[in-house]
């Protein structure tokens, strides 16, 4: 823990960065998939050796291997042996013997890569092999899951394997006491969510206070002062992590900072936010201010500034300062124009709850920064909660870079190989599916207007439903799912809507979405990580049909949605039905989509063509590039702060 304070190399700059990119590109040429596959075959060939071994012998063998790994003296052959052993244990304890492709994935994880394994291929089981090895090595292993439910489930489910191999396994769940947490982190294998592990890390940092590094902590200990501090730590260092849904954690949520905060002491501000919201209501779009949706920016015009000057005359106080008041009003205008209820946030029990734009999930413990959250509360005339004072803060990106060894698995990674390499130095390995995938992709259907798009989607659902095929429709926002639900109700089609409920139920509904005649409307990533098992007779009908009602900024997310159909060799089909009025193209290919819109002049028919589909690809490419640049920028500015605020003590 202490030795890690200065870990995390700065992002490469200049020529180094170019060189690093070239290395990454060259790394793509290495036939990793083939190498791992061959090795996996050797491991499968070791099966004979263990199948007839008695449990006691197996345990003994495991104990022997554990000693080898703890000393760090393993040979490649012993690694293969260990994998084969864990495989046998899995077969005996869970009744599931990892397939060849799962072993391949496990080898990729062990090698510190991102393993791209299609959903339903058994990532959870694959992770047990490298996790066991890491447990044997004795420096701890964190298996990072997407939510608390999965952490608990996987720890319980896979725990049998680990315990057989002589390892302790634990999971972290919200609300645990710090003593329990410490015990859990001291277990050989710890299942936890990224939030919990990061928050615990930050709390440890706060406990350490000004102890800068190992040497200063040791000095403090010798001097006899700070022993208590060090004993209060719950983690024991960041050695190895296997990140499930790596793209979501390491990329989509990468720049989300995790903040430990407390109440701030200036209550007079609440009034100001309410006043700002009132002022914002009096200003006129176009005349007083302009806003740019793509960049999420509001700008006051000269007229607007003057107008504001007149408006604030009777207010006084903070409103006297020009810069401060313009800032407040711009904040309020941003809240008014650019943040929409049910799209960016929902109101839950009188509170503004953020909706994650990528996942469509509710984020009750997150708040917007710089008073934006308060501005939105004021806009919705809710009780304004004070902005909190930050005590410690770290972005997931920075946090995960601290691990000595990191590996990840996800259904969709290859689109983001550059980012995985540049930021985490992890190559991406695509693992083939166990059975060949027979998903039928249909060409995107492009419509000129939103209205005609929704009509087409409903029509598509109706047609599909007649054959009693199950249909899953992915939407981007809560609002869109609600809108579609409304349309379906008008057509008297029975359906389930999944938007931002509790994870466990979510998973159940998703799991049931494969039944015959089912219609499910879900936000993009609802129930991620849960299989949709096909109901009886559904496979004969053609399997699950997935409709994406909008293209996502990241192509990965689209692929995840499509990947919900045709799993494990089942049949299935997928199609995106989109419109030129979608936010994606409006934001990232404004001119092109605008000119196409004009050309088709609001026609209701299908306007798909090579060109119109191309617009969506272009917009996606741009959006992804911008996002990567932005994430790297955040990392760089963090590096800058780290360097220049050295006197304030290291953040990490």
């Amino acid at each position: 823990m202490l030795a890690q304070r200065r870990a995390g190399e700065n992002l490469a700059k200049g020529l180094d960065a170019v060189c690093d990119k070239a290395v990454g590109l060259a790394g793509r040429m290495v036939p990793r998939q083939r190498q791992f596959l061959e090795r996996a075959k050797r491991i499968v060939a070791l099966e004979e050796r263990f199948t007839r071994m008695a449990d006691a012998n197996l345990r003994e063998q495991a104990a022997q291997l554990r000693d080898v790994f703890r000393c760090g003296r393993e040979t490649p052959a012993q690694l293969e042996l260990a994998f084969a052993l864990v495989r046998e244990v899995a077969a005996r304890q869970l009744g599931e013997r990892p397939y060849l492709v799962q072993i391949t994935g496990a080898l990729a994880l062990e090698a510190g890569c991102v393993a791209e394994m299609a959903t339903g291929e058994g990532k959870t089981l694959a992770a047990t092999m490298p996790a066991t090895i890491a447990g044997w090595r004795g420096r701890g292993c964190h298996v990072i899951t997407v939510n608390d439910y999965l952490a608990q489930r996987d720890a319980a489910w896979m725990g049998k394997i680990y315990r057989f191999c002589g390892l302790k396994v634990a999971h972290i769940e919200p609300g645990m006491s710090s003593a329990d947490r410490r015990t859990a982190y001291w277990a050989d294998i710890t299942y936890c969510t990224n939030k919990e592990v990061t928050a615990d890390f930050l709390r440890d940092r706060l406990a350490l206070g000004k102890c800068r590094d190992l040497s200063s902590a040791l000095l403090a200990k010798m001097a006899g002062g700070n022993i208590g501090q060090i004993d209060r730590l719950v983690q024991r260092g960041l050695h190895y992590a296997i990140v499930d849904e790596a793209d979501s954690v390491l990329i989509d949520e990468a720049v989300t900072p995790l903040i430990i905060s407390g109440d701030a002491p200036n209550p007079e501000q609440i009034e100001t936010f309410t006043q700002a919201a009132k002022l914002a209501a009096e200003l006129d779009s176009e005349r007083d201010y302009r806003f740019d949706y793509r960049y999420r920016e509001v700008e006051l015009t000269a007229v607007g500034k003057q107008h504001l000057d007149e408006l604030v005359e009777p207010l006084g106080g903070l409103w006297k300062g020009i810069r401060r008041r313009e800032e407040m009003v711009i904040q309020a205008l941003t809240a008014k124009e650019l943040y929409q209820q049910d799209k960016h946030y929902v109101i839950d029990e009188g509170k503004v709850v953020i909706v994650d734009e990528f996942t469509g999930r509710l984020m009750p413990d997150r708040t917007w920064r710089d008073g934006l959250h308060q501005a939105i509360e004021a806009k919705e005339t809710l009780e304004v909660n004070l902005p909190k004072d930050t005590y410690a803060r770290v972005s997931f990106q920075r946090f995960f870079r601290l691990y000595r060894r990191l590996s990840g698995m996800t259904g969709t990674a290859s689109e983001a190989w550059q980012e995985f390499w540049q930021i985490y130095h992890m190559p991406v390995v695509v693992i083939p599916t166990n059975r060949p995938c027979i998903r039928e992709y249909r060409m995107d259907a492009v419509y000129a207007t939103e209205k005609s798009k929704w009509a087409a989607i409903v029509e598509e659902i109706k047609q599909g439903h007649e054959t009693t095929r199950p249909i899953l429709v992915g939407t981007r926002s809560v609002r869109a799912s609600e809108h579609l639900s409304q349309l379906l109700r008008e057509e008297k089609l029975e359906h389930e809507v999944l938007n931002a409920v509790r994870h466990a139920e979510e998973a159940q509904i998703v799991a049931g979405a494969g039944g015959a005649g089912k219609i499910t409307v879900a936000t993009n990533m609802a129930g991620r990580g849960t299989d949709i098992k096909l109901g009886r007779g559904v496979a004969e009908l053609g399997g699950l049909h997935v409709i994406a009602s909008e293209r996502h900024e990241a192509g990965r997310v689209d692929r995840q949605l499509f990947g919900r159909s045709a799993r494990q060799g089942d049949p299935g089909s997928a199609q995106a039905i989109v419109s030129l009025e979608d936010e994606l193209v409006q934001r990232y290919a404004k001119h092109l989509s605008g000119s196409l819109c004009r050309r088709y002049g609001g026609s209701n028919s299908n306007v798909s063509s090579r060109l119109s589909r191309r617009v969506f690809h272009l917009a996606q490419r741009r959006a992804q590039r911008m996002a990567l640049r932005q994430r790297k920028g955040v990392l760089r500015s963090d590096d800058w702060l780290e360097e220049y605020l050295g006197f304030a003590g290291s953040e990490l």
Partner: protein, 731 residues
Amino acid sequence: MPVDRPTFSESWYRVADLRPRLRSTVQIHRQYFRGQMWHVVQDPTNNQFFRLNDSAYHFVALLDGQRCVSEVWYICNEELADSAPTQGEVIQLLGQLYAANLLQAELPPDAEGLFNRYRKRIKREVQGHLTNLLFVRIPLFDPDHFLDRWVGVFGNIFSWYGLAVWLVLVGTGLYFVAGRVGDMASRAGGILDPANLPYLYLSFIFVKICHEFGHSFACKKFGRSDGSGGEVHVMGIMLLVFMPMPYMDATSAWAFRKGRTRAAVAASGMYVELAIAAVAAMIWAKTASPIAYNVMFIASVSTLLFNANPLLRYDGYYILSDWLEIANLAPRSRQYIYYLVKRYVWGVGRAQNPAHTPGEKFWLPVYGISSTLFRVFIVTKILLFVAGKLFIVGVILALAAVVAWVFVPLGKFLHYLGTSGELARVRLRAVVSTAAMVAGIAIIIGLIPAADRGRIEGVVEPSRLAIVHMAADGFVTDFMSSEQKVSPDGPPLLKAQNPDLETQLEQLEARREQLRVQKRLAQTREVAGTQILSKQIAALEEQIQRVEDQLRSLELHSPLESEGIWIAPNIERFKGAFIRRGDRVGLVASLDDLFIRATAGQEVAARLIAEAKGKYGTVEIRVKGRPDMELRGNIEKILPAGQERLPSAALGYAMGGSMATEPGDEKGIKTAARFFEIHIEPIVSEGAENRENVRLFSGQRVIVRFETPPKPLMVQWYRSLLQMLQRRFHI
């Protein structure tokens, strides 16, 4: 955030509770620039400076190690309202102060960070040396104590009395020199003579040491009166284009409160040099000592050309910068130009304007553009000079320069253009406008043909000339001075006397008279004898005739039928001299038929021959020293290479011409390389003969400008580059 200066920063929590303060050794000086107050924070241990504006200073001054940062920030906000620094600005400010080692906090020192910064600084310095091989500084001693001891004496140079003495000295020096300007100028040509170089260098070192001590003592002296110390801790050697010369670090003068004293310190080096120049001028005027001349030359000319030149980063720059009251003139002028491009060409809405006042808006771009152009010019010159002396080093330096000044900025620029967040929403415009500009320039220089001109030098020669020989022996009594128009029936060119002939004539005439008398007698006495006598007389008359002819030919006339010019440069010598028959006295050149013999090196001649395709075009002829004259001519023929002797010494290097001559050749007509000779016949236009200003005279030096078919500038430059490389490096 859509706000220019967001009040809050999410990293604020990291500094909010700290109680830092400036280190106790840090000194702060107040300065005014264009009516705005600034505070210069100086770290006296390493002469690092840091400039703070008023509100930032206000903030820093409130940090006393007792209040925490957030308290101070609230106080600032109360007191300064809008101009108070924002949280982000405070973080930046604290970070920079910390990185400059100016800040201390109650935290344990971050030793690792300290070393990291040190390593980084060293790395940057080494990189700086490597990329700037032409200007390397090697520090050697700390002269501070020495200066302290002597400033009492030498500091007086910079007092009002010192200035009075200086004025008298420089005035006297000018007075001494005033009468000998011509002499001075003529000797300047020999200053780079190889034999003089060692002396020149020694003089240079001497003058520059005085110069540097001038800065240092001035810095000390004004530093004491200003109260800021004025410490000078570094003295060393600077390798300026590999030539060692002394330097001292008087940067502590930047902390002086008044711009005037800062400028005075910057000017002090030149002040000392000019005094030295004045003294040297007096010595030279009295003794004509070459060393005094060297010293005078360096201390005046080189100083005024280089040190006083504000476009280079020497004294003149700092004087200008203090005079304009614009600190960091050069970097800010560059930033301002970038800003103009960003704002107006690319339309970056939120570009930061680095100009604080209206005056700066004028000065910054003016300085930025002129200094950049000058830098390019001087660097090219230096590179060519170095390459001329040391080929390999020159090529390496040139490559380094190309990498450092072309590729690196280009790469950075492209990277900026492609990835900068600032340009995110105007990227298309930025890229398109930049590409359009580049394409525009590329088309102009790469595709559009431009007039392709060349010039050669020549001399005017008459196409016909007659040599005038003496037709009879004689003593010259009178002559026409050289270079006058003559015609056959005009006054004689030369008159001579031959007393022998005259005597002979008299004798003969006397004899003839005698014979005539005899003949008359014989007519009466014996008739037969008269016939003989008649014959004798006839023979005698023939003789007389001949002698008379000879005597007549002692008066020489122009042998040409038409008008011509009499050229007899040595005619003065003949006065009263005896000249034998057949001796050459001069020549008469025809006036109407002149032609130009021009010489050209291979590259020019080859171009002419290649472009002409058998028919040479017309050329423009300009007479040296008569820019108003415009004449045209036709190229008659080009004689192939093979000649080594110039038609006139006037065309050679030695006499200011353009053809390189063999150094050993005293007459200056043997060329270093063989050349082509080009004959050009001037076109005489109607009615122009009588106009004095369009006449050529033989012996005149002319420049012949010719034009080959237009070619894009790129092609022309490439050709000249190749030719230059070939010429300089013989490859």
